[in-house]
């Protein structure tokens, strides 16, 4: 319907012989500079202010992408009826605006116009195949059309391009339902997607809370640190080695230090990231700075012990292990510190190492670190 009409117009303008009509792709971000205040208002979560700014602009000065952002603001304000009209105007003016087609499809789906939504999603796929949102919407449309097979493919595609974003939980949730419908033999996969969806929702809930705090107080270092930890926790929880999360975490930690250069836990976490990247000298300096600011940082003390031990500085390593043991908060941390101290210092300080290992085995008789043979060897060595 709407799209068909647009294609006819485009054909009249651009058709040449039997060649298919060439509709130029339109990217509304070309107007970002002229609409920076509008976009900033939307980022702040204030679509009403964005709309006021747009309304205040003289019509003849409105940039090409104005309607795109107006429609987005209307959707953010929950005014979908008006947004639909603006999207329709936008795709009539810029038939190559793939994102506009995708958002219009979202509204049409909401209205139950599945055929209309499908047309516009096809256009979105044509003009912005890289836009993950259209894959997500196509998956939802497939679900509404009871096509679980297509929906599964689309959601998996979506997760390849955006595995941890705020919409990824939706894709996992949908996959959970798809596998649940396939019967008990698919229960494990349904449970897997349910767990990831729940975890992602939790992460994004925390992140949204911290972001709100930062909006209210841009100097809130604790909130900035909270955002950073959501990336790092997601990396360690999902454990699939996606270093994009570490890069995001790194940037977020740097932001904390811009607010408060003496935020010890952020410094220690940056140290962990550097150690993970093999930059031990830089990592050591960061850990040292962290414990200088906050001596009771267990993880930083432990890491300093490990770095020093592996560099052959056993005396300082021992001091850091002792500090880690002293500031361990609970048996789990204490066990970990004792095991690492015993393991790393076995050759340089066998008597002290044996003490560490005995204490470790007393706390963890099941020997999760597999250090009982080392302890036995040291017993024999020292006893002999």
């Amino acid at each position: 319907m709407r799209l068909a009409a647009l294609l006819v117009v485009a054909t009249l303008i651009t058709a040449c012989g039997s060649e298919p009509a060439l509709i130029p792709t339109f990217d509304p971000s070309v107007s970002e500079n002229e609409l920076s205040d509008v976009i900033e208002s939307m980022r702040r979560g204030d679509p009403a202010a964005a709309l006021e700014l747009l309304d205040a602009m003289p019509a003849d000065t409105l940039p090409e992408g104005a309607d795109h952002y107006r429609a987005l603001a209307l959707m953010d304000a929950g005014r979908n009826d008006e947004a639909r009209d603006v999207w329709e105007r936008e795709v009539a003016r810029h038939p190559g605006n793939g994102r506009a087609h995708a958002f219009l499809a979202e509204i049409l789906m909401d209205e139950g116009d599945l055929a209309g939504a499908e047309e516009h999603l096809a256009a979105a796929q044509r003009f912005v195949p890289e836009f993950a949102g259209q894959a997500l919407l196509s998956g939802q449309l497939a679900l509404l059309k009871d096509d679980d097979v297509a929906a599964e493919r689309l959601f998996v595609d979506y997760l390849e391009s955006d595995p941890y974003g705020s919409e990824a939980a939706l894709a996992h949730e949908s996959l959970k339902q798809i596998f649940a419908r396939r019967g008990p033999e698919h229960a494990d996969r349904a449970t897997y997607h349910a767990d990831i969806a729940e975890y992602l929702r939790e992460v994004h809930r925390y992140r949204a809370g911290y972001r709100q705090r930062l909006l209210e107080n841009p100097e809130d270092a604790e909130a900035a640190y909270g955002i950073a930890t959501t990336y790092l926790n997601l990396y360690y929880r999902t454990a699939d080695g996606d270093t994009r999360l570490l890069d995001e975490g790194d940037r977020a930690l740097q932001r904390v230090l811009e607010i408060d250069p003496e935020y010890a836990r952020a410094i220690a976490n940056l140290g962990s990231l550097r150690a993970q990247g093999g930059k031990y000298a830089e990592a050591r300096a960061l850990f040292a700075r962290a414990v200088e600011l906050e001596p009771d940082l267990f993880r930083a003390q432990l890491q300093l012990g490990l770095i020093d031990a592996r560099a052959g500085s056993f005396e300082t390593a021992r001091a850091h292990f002792e500090s880690a043991i002293a500031c361990a908060d609970g048996d789990l941390e204490r066990t970990e510190a004792l095991a690492k101290a015993g393991d790393e210092l076995a050759e340089a300080f066998p008597a002290e190492a044996l003490e560490y290992l005995r204490a470790y085995l007393a706390l963890a008789p099941l020997d999760p670190a597999g250090l009982a043979p080392l302890a036995a060897r040291l017993e024999q060595q020292l006893g002999g």
Binding site: M109, E111, L114
Partner: protein, 573 residues
Amino acid sequence: MSRRLLVTAAATAAALGACSPPPPAGATFRRVDDIGAALPTLRCGTPDGQDTILDVNGNGAALFDADGDGDLDLLLVDGTTRSDLVDGVPVQHHLLRNDGGLRFTDVSDEAAIVMGGWPTGVGVADIDRDGRPDLVIGAHGGDMLFFNRSTENTLRFEGEPLHASRRTPLDWTTSVALADADGDGLLDLYLVRYLELDPADPPLGALDDGTPCRFHGVDVMCGPTGLPPQPDVFLRGLDRAPWFEDATDAAGLDAVPAAYGLGVLFTDLDGDRRPDLYVANDSVDNVVLHNRGDGTFEDVSSMSGAAADMAGAPQAGMGVDTGDVDGDGDLDLVVTNFSDETHTVYRNDGALLFRDVTAAAGIARSTRPLLGWGVLLRDFDGDGHIDLFVSNGHVYAQADDPRIGSAYRQPQLLHRGRGDGRFAPSDFADTTPYPGRSVVCGDLDGDGDLDLVVLSLNEPPRLYENLTDDPARLRLLTLRHEGGEHAYGALVVAREANGRILARPLLSASSFQTSSAPAVSLACTSDLEQLEVHWPHGEVDVIDGALVRAGQHTVLAPTRGVVSSSPLLRPTP
């Protein structure tokens, strides 16, 4: 599945059972202002001081035959105010006796249904098995049983605290539902609980930790998020006083997380003739509990697809009802939710798996600005398709603020079912918005179609007469066990000559804090060939359709089939 073919068709039966042609699409309702008695404004907080969540949920109602004269009387559950609750001022409920012809007499004083606390939802059942319908009334501050002690000349109830449900002085029951969960022939009771709030010291403007209560940047009352949710309560029925005992833990329900419960269904959702439970929870996942048949339930919420919306996000569930929206013979669900959310349609895909089909059903856009409470899935226009009625009204007095993007007074929503899972908007009698809350339905005037009573916050209830008035097409069915009690949780599956299947449940509770008439309404557009009755924990009786005649009120019982039949359109006294 075990089936009993009860009666063979008589030769002339088809002619007797023939249905009239399809009616014009869409039910027409007329608001009836003069019903003889005054429809009282029910108390629920003070109109100008609704600053806590206690003040905004509204009241309960039931349609049942209190005096045994064969028609539906109207019980309106009154509420109170926080100060009266703290002071222990008793609450008297309103009972309006049906005199026929949509005329009522207020018999509240005679009935003496009086209790403490802040009463909320109501259930109706013959608890003491004396042949008269009794009441369970939930409350903040202590649930009550009311035994019907009426005689031929008097209408009277006797109240007794429901001790088995007592947990703390701050218990807050919202909806209640009854069904025989374990097959022992006794009705069990499910009490939905909301949250913990001390009426003497409620959070005003901010939570205890100082977090301000805001919605879309507007200061609003607090809750439910941030207040402690309360776990629901399951009571097993007993055959003697005290009539119920706490079986929450024994039924495995202690493992279900506490939640902000508001609406409930207690009916068979997976076709095994064991009543399952569905609880609509505010702001957190809804709960689907599979009845294992041995007195215990399994929480299958997470994988059911009916715990949250399509995106897996929990919604603010308020009311819930079930009906066969797409005409495939099983029971689908509709849950009402908050503004900015949709009222959500879950299609039943079997084995307690549901699919959010709200957008495909065509109600996503129309319901997104609305905050829904009572909901009914019934065939209001008698075309054989399930229609949808939702009572809407916002909880925030500030809802008209543009930042909230909704309205305090909202339109009531009537959507005509198309029979294929989709709904189409339909005009409702009252176009004036008001703060709607609960809704009950039943045939108040004896013409076979379903009339409505819609409650609203701090305004009198509204009674709407259904003008479908086509007794040649309509049937009313009462399903009773041998002892006479209603077979809550039973399912009627009618097969028409045109191939259409009509599945209709008998529910003790649906919507929100209400109990609609305990009868099944059936309208067909071709000859009714066969009727199956799926009795809870029992067999499936197959009855020749010709014996369940149009224009009749038919009473059915297990193994006996048709027990009695009487014409609709009783003469007005």
